[in-house]
Symmetry: C2
Subunit: 475 residues, 2 copies
């Protein structure tokens, strides 16, 4: 408690232990952590990445709740009981590091990144001032610089956000601030409608962000995509003109580099032309696809990204940094991020400090506490180098191409019936692999293979095909 506020208010209601004894026993605590570490190693990292073990141990919710005995009680539990709980949590959790977890874009494991995450937790600091996070203030700046360099920007700004959705929202807010700085103090009341443009295949966070920021989902105008799932620049141009003619104020275009379902890359150079013509902020949601920038062979997919005003990029996806690692990168050199988000709280960002207060980066965000998300990426980058990342990207494309070629050879792989949900249920209950399905446009539900984990081998591609055939045989 803050000392100034406490007044004596009667005798203690129950006896406290000796006031000179801390309530935590280091020896016991460190022993527990060490024992639990062994369980994590065995259950999560050894068995959990071994194809001889299941990806998931499916239980119905009611049964799982009973098995876990989740209830919180007045009394604490002993060492062995708690270790058993660690074991149970590990046992019934999905093994997202397993090579056959192809369900979402955060599978796989990199041990250097994981070490960075453990160290982040052990150090338990808050990335807002140089005083309290000296190593991470400097490290974040260096990692962001490295990512910006790949985009082609020699200067700029940025920060790590709690997920790609937050990055997209931040970009919208900054663009809005640039167009209408008074919104920060006066709000949107009395302004003409602001319009955001994005393709119909873009991530749902664009609409969520528009709702949250008070702009409204109806003011997000959907641009058509071509047969490859890419935003059509001429349709964007026409919809901007139409919105203007109807009294709207277009201020933000959110392109996608690697759409969620199809992995399509919008043609950024063509969209940049439209944005420049209309003087609109260009944002690239490269949460999934940004990592192609490491690959000489595939970076052409994201050509023109340097012309954007902002880029969101999630190294927790294709680079396997671990949740969460989401960079928002800005071309801006005029401190827009800080000016837009700052509140100048005097208890945290004192201006009479004995060091350069520009290093106190916390006022660039609308969070107060902010986790350290740079260390895991930095340590992994030091371990494998940019070349290692390039290999991973190239190999992912190779696996994907191989898979497509093999599918063409197999008769059963033209999806004509609505079988995905039934196959999915069997897959989960048997626990042999996890692959997600979804519809797209007027297509029925289909499986989306996510094949970027550095743990994957070509054999896993064959396994996927065999397993889908096996699971769906009688459907």
């Amino acid at each position: 408690m803050a000392a100034a506020d406490i007044s004596s208010d009667g005798p203690e209601s129950h006896t406290l232990r000796d006031l000179n004894e801390p309530l935590v026993d280091h020896t016991e605590g460190q022993l527990f952590l060490t024992d639990a570490f062994k369980i994590m190693m065995e259950e999560v990292l050894c068995k959990g990445t071994d194809v001889k073990h299941k990806v998931c141990e499916w239980k119905e919710p009611e049964e799982l709740a009973l098995l876990l005995d989740l209830e919180l009680r007045a009394k604490g539990e002993p060492h062995d009981k708690l270790l058993q709980r660690v074991q149970d949590v590990a046992k019934y959790s999905i093994k997202t590091s397993h090579p056959r977890f192809m369900n979402q874009q955060f599978g796989g494991v990199d041990y250097h990144a994981l070490t960075g995450r453990f160290l982040t937790e052990a150090l338990n600091t808050n990335l807002y001032t140089y005083e309290v996070a000296p190593v991470f203030v400097l490290m974040e700046a260096e990692v962001l610089r490295g990512l910006r360099q790949l985009i082609g920007w020699t200067e700029g700004d940025g920060l790590f956000c709690p997920g790609g959705s937050a990055s997209n929202m931040y970009a919208m807010n900054i663009a809005r601030y640039q167009h209408f700085p008074d919104v920060k103090s006066q709000g949107l009341f009395g302004l003409p409608r602001l319009n955001i443009f994005t393709s119909e295949d873009s991530h749902y966070s664009v609409k969520k962000g528009a709702a949250f920021l008070g702009i409204g989902t109806d003011n997000v105008i959907t641009v058509e995509v071509d047969e490859g799932g890419r935003m059509i620049p001429s349709d964007l141009d026409e919809k901007i003109k139409l919105a203007k003619s109807q009294g709207g104020v277009p201020f933000f275009v959110s392109c996608t580099a690697g759409t969620t379902v199809r992995g399509a890359f919008d043609l950024l150079d063509c969209i940049a032309d439209v944005c420049e013509k209309h003087k609109i902020w260009m944002h690239v949601d490269a949460a999934w696809g940004g990592s192609v920038l490491f690959s000489k062979q595939h970076s052409h997919l994201i050509k023109g990204v340097h012309r954007a005003n902002s880029v969101g990029w999630n190294p927790h996806k294709m680079l396997v940094a671990g949740l969460q690692c989401s960079a928002l990168l800005l071309k801006d050199t005029e401190n827009l991020l800080r000016r837009c988000h700052c509140a100048n709280a005097t208890y945290l960002f004192q201006q009479d400090k004995f060091y350069d207060v520009n290093l106190d980066v916390g006022d660039k965000t609308v969070q107060c506490s902010r986790k350290v998300d740079c260390l895991k990426l930095w340590l992994m980058w030091k371990a494998v180098g940019s070349n290692g990342f390039a290999d991973r990207v190239d190999k992912s494309f190779h696996h994907a191409r191989y898979l497509v070629a093999q599918m063409k050879k197999r008769e059963g792989f033209q999806i004509v019936f609505e079988v995905a949900p039934a196959i999915k249920e069997r897959m989960m209950k048997q626990g042999t692999m996890m692959v997600g399905y979804q519809p797209l446009g007027n297509k029925v539900n289909f499986f989306r293979m996510v094949v970027f984990s550095p743990l994957l081998s070509q054999k896993d591609m064959d396994f996927f095909l065999d397993e889908i055939e096996r699971l769906g045989k009688d459907l």
Copy 2:
């Protein structure tokens, strides 16, 4: 990559390793993690909590950047070099678990919570569907239920957010949605000004949130505080009436249970009366003070909290759960959270799943990826029980009272000159302890002692006083 989108585009630019060999070597990786774990144990948890070692190893930014060799390069580095990097990061980082880290409200360590955080990282999952996070969907519900029960709610809703600032923003957005559901689709354009009320000592995130949500900082109306730093209910009532008379629409009052600088608790029952009278959403920012609910002796401070519509509570502060652990709790039973935030993305929240899709909680948030923040609190709660939390809270108050009594006995402790920044500089450079300072109203900068860590003993209170005297002797 999503398989459907890949077409062959020329030969590989450099040779990949055998396609049937994964790019990650488990044996090497696990060895590295094990070696790094030993370093964390030694440097962060043993030395880092030992009062014979420093809290911080102060370096000027330029020197630290050189020492850390932060630059990211094309080639990877060997095992030993990388272990040295782990060692360096630990060495130059602030030891926030050290008993003499009283700088901010996230100091201290609890080994069970830390185990939960390591396990969370090892399992690396995403809290959005039952399918991918079965254990954590159920566990989060149980932990939220436990926290709501302490508030006095037998039903309700909630979720863990990336920090207390996000909790406050979410509460504002939900309240706005309840008052004006069309804002979600149409935005704020054309609406009358919406007004938020909070005390002048409340956290800066209320204003940041209002700016972000498009409401604007000018529409946050500041209510006066009494001599104890508590919002004055009659002033709130008058300011609501005044806002209405000027055409504003008051919709949200943010009370504070434990203000950031003074630790003051607003008188919630009196404020609830005002909110009920005017039919305004009542939110309690109990990020800091919520944990007094565990203490029979001190829970009176937060009396009336059950009358609120929403409560933000950060167990990463007084309960030492580790960053981040921020619960947003709602009294609502009509699915307001989901209705306000949902986008119904079909690739993630398919409605034809083989289990109850109400367990897919991800659409309650504006994030997409969301970290698991419940496990660390759950495991610690299992370990110490509600009784253990009560002891910790009681002991914190005891330390604070002791400190106040001792200060009154020492002559030098009436702050009359502006000495805090100078003492702080000496403190950091010597690394013996870390305590934050800030101004308040018309007072000069003063030190704020944060004394809730379970590692603290009464001797640390004496040390603080001696050390402040020593550091400031000649000022």
